[in-house]
């Protein structure tokens, strides 16, 4: 193997195992930075030895054992310099060092460690940006530069976010634990929101140079898989996984050869990823069997109804409308009401749909929301009200920041302004 190839191989193993190993190290160190440094140390040792000696059979166990030894060394060293680590060393570090020889790689991984870590990263005492960056960096094993590129931020910005978040975890005493029952529902919501946000950042990206962003969608699906394993009794988590799989199945079909965004109606359904649809629908069924439907499951069900239709004309809009009604009952937002209006226009006609959209527009809540104006424009266009449609497209364009969506709106506007 060339040195570059072997380096890539080592890095791939580390990335795959990153979340589980770091989670265990953080449990031991109670400190993000020391745990990360120990893992970095282990990687340097691996880069030095694996190319010559070959990869160990249980690579994850080897990394864990090496990183653990380095962590003990670092704690011993830091304990002599800093008060905080001195007390830790007295309390636990010595004990850990004594048992070093008898430590069994078979004890690793602890599934609970990753669960604790994801709850720590998504703790509501951290702001949303920090939650996302921290989750991707620790559980996902993404490098700072990768996160920066994915979110179109500078590397120092992301690095600073991560440092601040870790400092707050330490100084505010954010625990490294699965939250107590009374807080579990709120916290699980926060974790799911972070995962879905990561997914949407990736899913919305579609051009060639956005490849790194598209990987975010895959990363979110991987995180949801992990979360499903960790809390199998929560149907909403499985619903979220199903939702992302089903949406992601349309990724390739969403964009035309020239890079334009395509509506469901215009997509080539042969490009839909049938395997992803099969897996996603399966996950959804498993979730629904648990008998506690929530918003993620209902959204997944809507995506599944679309996926089942072989052609746009075959879409079961009545079922979709019913599902949007359920979502609204669960406390769905004005955005849900907007989507329901679109379904209504399919079931009861364009006028009924437009009336529902106008009602939402009058309420004013979605005035800054591009899709309200784009939807309104679309309905007006199809009803032949060209001048009003043109004005609505103008408003949508003012609010649009995505290049592909912009091209789409411009094309539609020129249709009605001629």
């Amino acid at each position: 193997m060339s040195s570059e190839a072997s380096r890539a191989a080592v890095e791939a193993v580390f990335r795959e195992e990153h979340g589980a190993i770091l989670a265990s190290l953080i449990r031991m160190a109670r400190d993000f930075e020391l745990a990360e440094e120990a893992l970095q140390d282990a990687m340097l040792v691996a880069l030095d030895r694996w190319p010559a000696e070959g990869m160990p059979e249980n690579a994850a166990g080897w990394i864990m054992a090496t990183a653990r030894r380095r962590l003990i060394d670092r704690l011993r060293h830091e304990g002599q310099r800093r008060q905080r680590y001195a007390s830790w060393w007295e309390r636990e570090g010595k004990e850990m060092a004594v048992h070093e020889r008898s430590w069994d790689a078979g004890e690793f991984p602890h599934p609970d460690d990753r669960l604790r870590l994801i709850f720590t990263c998504c703790h509501p005492a951290l702001n949303h940006d920090a939650q996302v960056a921290l989750t991707l960096s620790t559980l996902g094993g993404l490098e700072t530069g990768e996160i920066a590129r994915a979110f179109l931020l500078s590397k120092p910005t992301v690095a600073q976010r991560l440092v601040r978040a870790k400092r707050k975890i330490r100084d505010a005493g954010i625990p490294y634990q699965v939250p107590p029952m009374e807080m579990l529902a709120e916290r699980l919501q926060a974790v799911m929101a972070v995962i879905y946000l990561v997914f949407n950042e990736g899913y919305a990206a579609s051009s060639g140079e956005d490849l790194i962003r598209r990987e975010l969608a895959a990363e979110a699906i991987r995180l949801a898989h992990i979360l499903c394993e960790l809390v199998p009794g929560e149907p909403e988590v499985r619903g979220l996984l199903a939702l992302m799989l089903l949406q992601n199945s349309r990724q390739t079909a969403r964009v035309s050869a020239t890079g334009d965004l395509l509506l469901l109606e215009e997509q080539d359904r042969d490009l839909w990823d049938r395997e992803a649809i099969r897996v996603g629908s399966g996950e959804l069924e498993r979730a629904l069997c648990q008998g506690c439907a929530g918003p993620y499951q209902v959204q997944a069900a809507i995506a599944a109804v679309h996926a089942e239709a072989e052609r746009w004309e075959d879409t079961d809009w009545e079922q979709i409308l019913g599902l949007y009604d359920s979502l609204l009952e669960m406390g769905g937002s004005a955005v849900v009401a907007l989507n329901r209006a679109v379904a209504l226009s399919q079931v009861e006609g364009l006028e009924a749909g437009l009336a529902a959209v106008e009602e939402l527009a009058a309420a004013g809540q979605l005035d800054e929301y591009q899709y309200l104006h784009a939807t309104r424009a679309d309905l007006l266009r199809r009803l032949g009200q060209k001048a009003a449609a043109c004005r609505a497209y103008e408003r949508a364009l003012e609010l649009c920041s995505n290049e592909q969506e912009r091209n789409f709106l411009l094309a539609r506007r020129s249709e009605v302004s001629s």
């Binding site: 800093r82 008060q83 100084d171 005493g173 625990p175 939250p179």
Partner: protein, 121 residues
């Protein structure tokens, strides 16, 4: 870890309370304080006089400036605090949500800067 739980609420809220409601609120506080003490996590606790009694002092380039009122005009003002010693932030949050004012005001949780925090970046 030690945390200061700072209790914020709009002072105008208390003017709307009947004598009986005020009594119930005070009884709620009494119960909460007892619970804290019973759990062995209580450090200190006080209720403050309203902001009308506040005085703000600033020393700028050696010159004393004393003004009437709180340092900033805000809708919710601090009306009291608890100092508690608990395991971590989640434990502090569990206690904070039991403070009677949490249901109409806000509780800000701040960790105390301990001796061992000095020397940290």
């Amino acid at each position: 870890m030690r945390y200061l739980l700072m209790i914020y609420s709009p002072e105008s809220y208390y003017e709307t309370l009947s004598e009986q409601q005020m009594g119930e609120l005070m009884a709620g506080y009494g119960q909460f304080t007892e619970e804290l003490t019973g759990a062995g996590v209580m450090g200190a606790s006080e209720r403050l006089q309203p902001t009308a009694t506040a005085t703000t002092v600033r020393l700028r380039e050696g010159k004393l400036n004393t003004t009437d009122g709180p340092f900033a005009e805000t809708k919710e003002t601090i009306g009291g605090f608890y100092l508690i010693d608990v395991k971590d932030l989640d434990a502090a949050i569990s206690w904070a949500k039991k403070i009677p004012t949490a249901s109409y005001g806000s509780i800000e949780i701040r960790p105390i800067w301990e001796a061992e925090d000095y020397g940290e970046a």
